[in-house]
């Protein structure tokens, strides 16, 4: 087994290690929790950890592999959460859970994917700073609209309004589903650590397979050099959109997982700060490193909980992480300096640094 692991292709081995880390983490937590060794606050963090891991992996597809900065990832999470949870509140009582829960995820993912197309088509005509600011704008628009959205049903059908609950014109025995800024309330909690774990596995399989395929190579080629990618016959729009939409779909899945973990859901939870938080996971874990995203998302979610004193400084630490990691990894002078230091301590002189391509 171990010897087979050694002869395997580097990327395959690296992917297996990633899966291994996730599975071991799941098993260890299950054993500890079975033995009564975990605290309630830690257990409460398990589903959010899974959601953030999925979000970080999916954002990494956009940032690390497509090479574009999206500042509106929370928007896709939001539409996924609202549509998935809405479906759950509608059919959760009538359908068995093993049908209703997957259905909620599918609906959340599809709706987020549709938004991915709507947002992606105009956004992907831009690049760089402009693309980033427009994703931010879309994220804010989504938040503002859901915040102002009132939705209800009565015997006459579905009613909605963007001003207030009364203007929906709901009859007396009608039911309000989304109540503006108050969002959805009275949700029957459905998310579990195991569901989160399965979602992470599915995310990993899909995204890693995607990256190591013809589509993934086209996406990375666009990232590295658009003009050269076009010159070998790659359709830029199509592959940029593919990456962007897949990224949105998984953000939607994560949103459903997150939404089904609480009794109420409000749009303001998915704001610009949340988008940045996900970005911090990606940056700290290493742009383009899926395994790094997983570890960073898990650690940064758990740490402030474990070290209670740090709670107030959480966002401050995020900010410093962003700046320091960027300067350390990207400044030409610091890269040169690091190479000198490594060169001094490395025993094999003159050998060029050989980095694995994941």
């Amino acid at each position: 087994m171990l010897s087979r692991l050694k002869t395997m292709k580097k990327t395959t081995r690296s992917n297996l290690i990633t899966f291994g880390i996730v599975i071991v983490f799941y098993l260890v937590v299950q054993i500890l929790s079975g033995a009564g060794l975990t605290t309630r606050s830690f257990e409460g963090q398990l589903v959010p950890i899974c959601a953030y891991v999925v979000l970080a992996i999916s954002l990494n597809l956009t940032v690390g592999f497509l090479g574009e900065l999206s500042l509106g990832h929370a928007g896709f999470m939001s539409v996924g959460a609202f549509s998935g949870v809405l479906l759950w509140t509608l059919v959760g009582d009538s359908l068995p859970a093993f049908v209703a829960i997957p259905l909620a995820f599918i609906v959340g993912g599809i709706v987020a994917g549709i938004f991915g197309v709507i947002v992606g088509v105009p956004v992907l005509r831009l690049s760089g700073d402009y693309l980033a600011i427009v994703t931010l704008a879309f994220g804010e628009i989504i938040k503002n609209i859901i915040n102002a959205l009132y939705l209800g049903v009565d015997e006459n059908g579905v009613h909605f309004s963007l001003t207030d609950a009364n203007s929906m014109g709901l009859s007396a025995d009608g039911e309000t589903l989304i109540n503006g800024a108050m969002g959805i309330t009275g949700i029957k909690k459905a998310s579990t650590f195991t569901i989160g774990f399965v979602l992470i596995l599915i995310t990993l399989i899909v995204i890693l397979n995607l990256i190591n395929s013809r589509t993934g190579r086209a996406i990375m080629a666009i990232r590295d050099n658009e003009i050269a990618a076009q010159s070998v016959g790659i359709n830029l729009t199509r592959f940029k959109l593919t990456a962007f939409v897949v990224s949105a779909v998984f953000a939607g899945f994560a949103g459903v997982l997150y939404g089904l973990n609480y009794s109420s859901l409000v749009a303001s939870r998915f704001d610009y700060n949340t988008s940045i938080q996900i970005l911090v996971f990606v940056v700290l874990g290493g742009i383009g490193s899926i395994r790094g995203s997983i570890i960073a998302a898990a650690l940064l979610t758990v740490l402030p909980e474990v070290l209670r004193g740090l709670q107030d400084y959480r966002m401050l630490i995020y900010a410093i992480v962003l700046i320091v990691v960027m300067i350390f990894n990207q400044s030409p002078q610091i890269i040169a300096w690091r190479k000198r230091i490594i060169g001094r301590f490395s025993s094999k002189k003159g050998e060029p640094e050989k980095k694995e391509v994941a």
Partner: protein, 296 residues
């Protein structure tokens, strides 16, 4: 008459956006980076005025000057410490760093001055200026609005003159045109970019004073939204263009105020952002910007 009143307060809000947008547009034009932290410098500047004028009771003009000095130093330090090491790095790295700096300023402000909003005392009223009543009291224009609009126009004219008629101004134009060539011609690129940050930050202090005088709640996130909207304004008008920043800022302020008044308060931000998206998709160079060609 009511429309006129909305329009005037929109122009006033837009003038604040224009002042902030100037900082964005100059930095973007010259350093080719989106300084996300620009809005948060406004917030820091406003806190300085809050304490100097509201707390210590200093003269309003002196308070603004002190705030300008603090912001100038802050802006230059940020440029030196966080942005300069990344001058040759990919734009993604620079943008992420700038987001980090924006967060850092917000969080430091939160830890130092608490997240609770503070009630800001208008420096315009503090200077003894009174609202202007027209048409026998049917239309009242606040002193803040008048001062803001005048300040914005004066600064715009002064800045245009500075860029077009002084040696450092010419250096700025040269660096924005072609950094490498400017360097070869003996322009000190680092100093020019630092100067750009200094000017932008000083203007941010003025913008903060005027913004908080008109909208008197001050919190660590006060600068974030106006900052982003001002960037929208800068893009709207055409990034890198001083008159463009003015035009974009005023238009955006008017659009925001009118949609608040006639469409929906909750959706006014969404409308502003929709404007951004439409502008960027239809005419990414903005109203007064110029086209950039990529060399193959």
């Amino acid at each position: 008459m009511q429309f006129l009143s909305y329009l005037i307060s929109g122009i006033s809000l837009g003038s604040v956006y224009a002042l902030i947008a100037l900082g964005y547009t100059m930095v973007y034009g010259i350093a080719k980076m989106l300084n996300f932290a620009h809005g948060d410098i406004i917030m820091i500047g406003s806190y300085v005025i809050f304490f100097a004028f509201g707390g210590f009771g200093w003269n309003p003009i002196l308070s603004v000057v002190v705030s300008m000095v603090v912001c100038t130093i802050l802006g230059t330090v940020i440029e030196r410490v966080a942005y300069r090491p990344l001058r040759e790095a990919p734009s993604l790295a620079v943008l992420i760093t700038a987001i980090g700096v924006s967060y850092l300023l917000q969080q430091v402000a939160q830890l130092m001055w608490s997240p609770d909003p503070k009630s800001f005392q208008s420096i315009v009223a503090g200077a003894g200026l009174k609202p202007l009543e027209l048409f026998g009291g049917k239309l009242t224009i606040s002193a803040e609005a008048i001062v803001t609009i005048i300040a914005c126009v004066v600064i715009m004219v002064a800045l245009t003159a500075f860029v077009n008629h002084t040696v450092p101004g010419h250096a700025m134009l040269a660096v924005s045109e072609d950094r490498g060539a400017a360097q070869l011609m003996g322009v000190n690129v680092n100093a020019t970019i630092a100067l750009t940050f200094a000017i932008g930050s000083a203007l941010a202090a003025v913008a903060g004073a005027l913004l908080c005088s008109s909208y008197p709640t001050l919190s660590p996130t006060t600068g974030a939204m106006p900052g982003i909207k001002a960037f929208v304004a800068a893009v709207f008008g055409g990034i890198g263009s001083i008159p463009g920043a003015f035009l974009g800022g005023v238009l955006l302020g008017v659009i925001e105020n009118l949609s608040k008044a006639y469409i929906s308060t909750q959706l006014s931000d969404a409308i502003v952002f929709l404007v951004l998206i439409v502008v960027l998709v239809v005419k990414p160079t903005g109203l007064l910007g110029k086209k950039i060609n990529v060399k193959v």
